[in-house]
């Protein structure tokens, strides 16, 4: 071994100390490629985008904004591979509706129609399929969207994880609404619609069999109504994002990187419920990186911020909305947190998945 200079010798040879080998090439997909962080981004940038081409895809939004026959449409798709299928506060059926509905809502569109593709694993109980389908139907009705088309495939036992669902959705973007990172300017106020990290911790509590003393329910919800309420105050919102995989940190980083603006977050203003903070403290995770399913982040022109915040707080899904920071001209493309003690730190895009630490 090259790193085993024996300290029983006369003196340490600093020049001889070396350390680990680089891990530059990943010839296979690893879990981090689906984590919503830097590895996911590289997969899209280096493989999918070059292969597909196209101007619309290059927008790289949660939903594509299209013009078709004079209408401005939002179009989005998402796949759901959550385990377990049922969790406190929801199920894969709810997620399959709300995930796609929310992607559309982040472009200002109210979802109108969904497609729904089920990939079932041989052996899964029909009762489970039925319960998921009922949950999916109920979530669609709550969100005010119609499942217009679907597809079913079955894979051999051992080739799936019970049920996978893909949904795609389409909706109309109202006139005057133009939500995209490019519109963010220094001075914009950053609002988050409520407590963060709840969904991720709820899933961990059941998937990993961890108990945190309090049952934590997912915040899974469709955000179309909340977005409508915000747009009713002003269509001049600059950008919306639902901080799902990768959490608030990933959402803010994506906006900062795509807009070229800097973002400053006041850490003590970020709403983290005690149960989420406890769970994250135990596992060594940062709540800023934990997934949400029923929250949004808004960049709003300063002159509209108070009115938008008031409208959000008047909506049941935005009752705990709070201003957490602002867009700035300094440190373009970077998200910086002001810590509770008065220091600063960079809030980076996560690499892949968060990993619980050893101690």
């Amino acid at each position: 071994m090259s790193d085993t200079t024996d300290l029983r010798g006369p003196a340490l040879d600093v020049e001889a100390w070396t350390c680990p080998a680089p891990l530059r090439d990943r010839p296979r997909v690893v879990m981090g490629h689906g984590g919503g962080g830097a590895l996911s981004a590289e997969l899209v940038q280096q493989i999918f985008a070059p292969a597909f081409g196209g101007e619309v895809l290059a927008q790289m939004g949660d939903a594509a904004a299209l013009t078709l026959g004079g209408a401005r449409l939002a179009f989005s798709t998402d796949s759901f591979v959550v385990r377990p299928l049922f969790f406190p506060g929801g199920s894969i059926g709810d997620l399959a509706v709300n995930g796609t509905v929310n992607d559309l809502a982040m472009s200002g569109a109210r979802a109108a129609y969904l497609s729904c593709g089920f990939i079932l694993e041989e052996g899964v109980e029909l009762d489970v399929v039925s319960r998921v389908a009922e949950a999916l139907g109920a979530a669609a009705r709550t969100a005010g969207v119609e499942v217009a088309t679907g597809d079913t495939k079955v894979v051999e036992a051992g080739h799936g994880d019970g049920i996978f669902i893909n949904t795609a959705g389409i909706g109309l973007i109202p006139p005057g609404v133009d939500l995209r990172p490019g519109r963010v300017v220094a001075g914009d106020v950053v609002i988050v619609s409520g407590a963060i990290g709840v969904h991720g911790v709820a899933i961990m509590s059941v998937r990993e069999g961890l108990e945190f003393g309090v049952e934590i329910e997912s915040d899974c919800a469709a955000l179309g109504g909340l977005v409508d309420a915000m747009l009713a105050v002003t269509p001049d919102l600059h950008v919306l994002r639902d901080p799902t995989r990768g959490g608030l940190a990933a959402a803010l980083n994506e906006i900062a990187a795509a807009s070229g603006a800097g973002v400053v977050v006041r850490e003590r203003d970020v709403p983290v419920p005690a149960a989420v903070a406890n769970a994250c403290a135990i596992l060594g995770l940062d709540p800023m990186y934990v997934a949400n399913e029923g929250k949004l982040v808004a960049f709003v022109p300063r002159e509209h911020a108070d009115a938008v915040l008031e409208a959000m707080r008047a909506h049941p899904l935005g009752a705990d909305s709070v201003i957490i920071g602002e867009a700035v001209a300094e440190h373009p493309g970077l998200v910086v947190a002001r810590t509770g003690l008065g220091g600063t730190r960079v809030v980076d895009l996560p690499l892949g998945e968060q990993l619980p630490r050893i101690c």
Partner: protein
């Protein structure tokens, strides 16, 4: 969390900082031994708030960082074998061995599982009697007792398909090695509170006396760290060098006797290589001969491992406190969390990763990694 909030109270922090500012008259270099403390210092910006005279040097206290490459490669080899279920804490999965990591082994078909307790791994062994289940037992005195207990349980329950790949390390010999180095400039230590909660403080007075350094047992929350710094600086200014317990809510002088008894039963002290540093005499634990049946190195005969390290990586110097992460030529350019040269850039508790994650704003030679938007 009210409890944690209280240990992050800005008003109390301000008072401690004022006291430190008022006490300091000369430059002092303190080493925090534990990676958890490093992470907390950088994450909360504590280093930015201290007087410029107080320099915090980041020690070799990240268990992930100091696990030798040879052991990582043994883990990769065992995890790749058919019929093996390899269990590990999450943050070991991303640490590079020679050319790959445990995530990659999993993507190639290896059955690598993240567990939250070594007892989970034992349970997996009981549920899979036809498979060999191996737990990756690494870490300091903090994680060693539950791992020891798990091996003890495995033998008591007769779980013959369970073994452990052990690479535990001990803090006091590392402090001794650091202080013995001629290039050492550490003048005081913030000792790791978790370690002392197990081992007590009995190993420290002799070190404090021999090297004439104050050793302050310190916790992990911002106020704990500020209090540790305050007490260390006070001693240095007065020319004192005693062991001081600033983490009395968790650390009793005798530590945890039950945990220590378990360690003594299951493990024996051995020389251990620290990644990037070298062999430190008596600095590790291995399974005692009577538990050899549960020793994965013995069971899988992983010999002849050829390790390969990149020449550019200077994390050994970082681990010794001889170099700040951003002073490394490769920092933020050749070496980033996406493409780590060394374990100190991989582990969330590694000094290089902490600097990269939280301090890029202040560091000019750290180019921002391309992070395209999805």
């Amino acid at each position: 969390m009210k409890y944690i909030d209280e240990f992050q109270d800005p008003e109390l922090a301000r008072r401690l900082l004022d006291d430190i500012h008022a006490t300091v008259t000369r430059p002092w270099a303190l080493m925090e031994v534990c990676g958890g403390q490093t992470h907390s210092i950088i994450r909360h910006g504590i280093d930015q708030l201290l007087p410029k005279e107080v320099e915090l040097i980041h020690g070799p206290g990240c268990p992930v960082c100091v696990t030798p490459l040879e052991v990582i490669d043994k883990a990769l080899e065992i995890a790749s074998r058919p019929g093996v279920i390899f269990c590990s804490f999450g943050d070991m999965l991303r640490v590079p061995g020679t050319g790959r990591d445990l995530f990659q082994v999993r993507s190639e078909g290896g059955d690598v599982r993240v567990v939250y307790s070594p007892l989970d791994a034992l349970r997996i062994a009981q549920q899979n009697p036809d498979r060999e289940v191996v737990f990756f037992g690494i870490g300091f005195e903090t994680t060693a007792p539950p791992n020891a207990m798990t091996v003890h349980q495995a033998r008591r329950l007769g779980v013959t398909n369970f073994s452990m790949l052990v690479s535990h390390v001990r803090v006091p010999p590392a402090i001794e090695a650091i202080m013995s180095s001629p290039s050492c400039r550490v003048q005081g230590f913030l000792a790791a509170g978790h370690v002392c909660s197990v081992m007590g403080v009995g190993e420290y007075p002799e070190l404090a006396e021999r090297f004439r350094v104050p050793i302050v047992v310190t916790g992990f929350e911002p106020l704990d760290i500020l209090e540790g710094v305050r007490r260390a600086v006070r001693q240095l200014e007065r020319g004192e060098h005693t062991v001081d317990n600033a983490y009395a809510r968790a650390v009793r002088p005798e530590g945890n006797p039950a945990a220590r008894a378990m360690l003594e039963d299951v493990f024996e002290v051995t020389d251990r290589a620290w990644r990037g540093i070298g062999v430190i005499p008596d600095s590790g634990w291995r399974l005692a001969p009577k538990y050899r049946d549960h020793d994965a190195e013995h069971r899988f005969s992983v010999e002849g491992i050829q390790t390969r390290e990149p020449a550019e990586c200077r994390s050994g110097e970082v681990l010794q406190g001889l170099l700040k992460p951003h002073e490394c030529e490769a920092f933020g350019t050749l070496c980033t969390p996406r493409n780590p040269l060394g374990a100190t850039m991989v582990s969330s508790e590694g000094a290089c990763a902490a600097y990269y994650l939280y301090r890029r704003l202040d560091i000019t030679n750290a180019a921002r990694e391309a992070t395209p938007v999805v």
